[in-house]
Amino acid sequence: MAKNKGYIALFLIPTIILFVVVYAVSIVILAGTSFTEWATGTKPVFIGLSNYIKMFTDDSDFTRSLINTVIWIILQSTAHVFIGVLFAIILNMKEFYWKFARTVFMIPNIISGAAVGMLFLCILNPEFGAINSIIRLFGFKDFSQNWFMDYRTSFFSVTMTWLPYAAVVTILVLAEIAAIPEGLFESARIDGASEIKVNLYIVLPLLRNIIGTCVILSGTSMLQKLDIIMMTTGGGPGNQTMNLPMYIYKTALMDNNFGYSNTVGTFLVVFGIVLVLLYRRIFKIGNSDT
């Protein structure tokens, strides 16, 4: 393998360059200025750990954002992935609708987050939105649930703008199922296993790696979720639907507090690392034993 060393390096270099150009500067600035007091248009001033102390001890918005982020990560890496995998397995039965369903399912994922947010904002509008109008058709004439702004439904409504749309998971899993040697299925069927059993005992175990990938992608996507929240609730009512990215955005560009915003940002990165390590442990990714 030693003769390949040069190639290995060469194959890695472009990725490393790309990483340095796009991320390295950001990481350095992010971590560096998290220890400073830095407002827009002024120079950063070193203040040690004050930002961190404030974040952990005296910031209820931060706590709320963290809790929401964690809840969304859990939902996304369980319910969301479950929906995606289940749908993939159903589509893989190749029944009459499968191509149509696969394409249609992807539509909400194709559209930009901002457009999805705008779409939902209109559909859930209490006055003229489609949902309330339909409910009114069923005889509840005065029905006017304010889905996004009533604190009883806001969290649910925001969650529903992404939770069911697991098409990416479905696509990844479908690709993986397609790569399973047909022979495996056939021998199982010859043994008389039912469709459900084939899926449960043969397909699912083989999907462990890709499901792991999906859980990581879906879960960590919640560390970045910003545009839909910004477009629909802006984190409100109060801080009911605030998450860490939204809080970071607000702190930097509304409070003009780049320093503190980067403190929360650094926390988010560390938090994400812990999360990924945790996922890796659960799915034992990296021990390539396929």
Binding site: A39, T40, T42, E127, F148, Y151, P237, L253, M254, D255
Partner: protein, 447 residues
Amino acid sequence: MKKPVALLLASLMVASLAACGTNTASESTTSAAVSTSTQTSAQTGAEAKSPVTIKYPTYRVGTHYSAAFEKEQIAKFNEKFGNEVKVQVEEIPSDTAYNDKMKILAASGDLPDVVMGKNGINEILIKGNLATPFNEYLDKDSEWKADIGDEAIAANTRDGKVWSISDQKQVIGYFYNKEMFEKAGIKPAETWDEFLANCDKLKSAGFTPLALMTGENAWTTNLMLSSIVGTSGEAGNKFMNTLHPASFETPEMIEGLKKIQIMLKKYTTKDAIGAVYANAANNFEQGKAAIIANGPWMIGDFSDKSKSPEGFDKKVGVAAYPGSGAFLSYEVGYMIGSDAQDKKDAAAKFIKYKTSAEGQSIALELGNVLPVSDKVQPSEEFKQKYPVFVETIDVGNSAKVKYQYFDTIVFPNVTDTWKNLYPELAFDKLTAEQFAKKLTEVAAKNK
């Protein structure tokens, strides 16, 4: 054997370098004061005697109500001064995106030559010493100074320095649906108690009284709140004319918030909580609400058939707020963000044109915005077309109490907070007192 990959890499590099080479001529030569070693963007020095290029980002594009006059002003400027100054317009749709980008540019020391100072951007520029005051330019040019007027200049002066040139005056009362008022048997209220009683009457006549909204900057709701506070007596009026109030826990604010709480609960449309401006505007224009607090730029919409039913403009009246109140404030307007002297001069020239009597008149005729100077008067044709506009000016002139709106006096992060707090107020999660306390806390967060 390493060749293929090396070749691939090299060609990628070349491709990106080639791309760098093109189009650098239009790059700005600005390298702003705080900029460190970051400004290495290639320069070709092709602008020796050619016109000075200035960068002007604007959010007045697309469906923005000022898009029409912005276009006309720039076209006219190019016609007149195109050989001296080349304006490089950057379209930034959405006000939020504009604010964000200006802050990023300010933090990077790359401000454009002409900056709109609203939404707290002026504060950042002043604090960071990133802008050039207009004093010298105004001293040299008495005609321009007269076109703007002393009041507008004073509104944007800090410590003797004129940091920005206001491009429009805001006089804001509220619009009401005359037909609905007639059917409910009411007239515009003189006191706030009467105002609420009127709302009751409208409601029993089968109309939703108020087109409020709490999304975005809670604009129409906040106009009501500002008016309640601004007309509540000396202390309240002073509050509404104070830049950056530190504490919102004043009796007037709390009283005002209590009234707003009632309005949000009883007198507004179902979608008011969380609604954006578009919702409120449509509710009023489609006859779903009787009253909307908003400025004169909306008047054009009343006769625009794609927005309002035919003949709607005849039904709209305008009134001062109870207690004879109206908003009167000058927009922050344009600032000079350039670094090099020739760019500064060119930027000043551009701003001068935009705020001159001619520029103001274009904005008035095409955008229904009030000129800062009394010298600029609407044409007869315009008055015929928009009688409500003339009424608005009258309302502004006859109102006894004048005050500003929240967006001009509070920090941007406070402006951004209303949308999170109002729903809690409306759903009884917060009391008026707690609401005011939260505002104080948010204001303290500002850097």
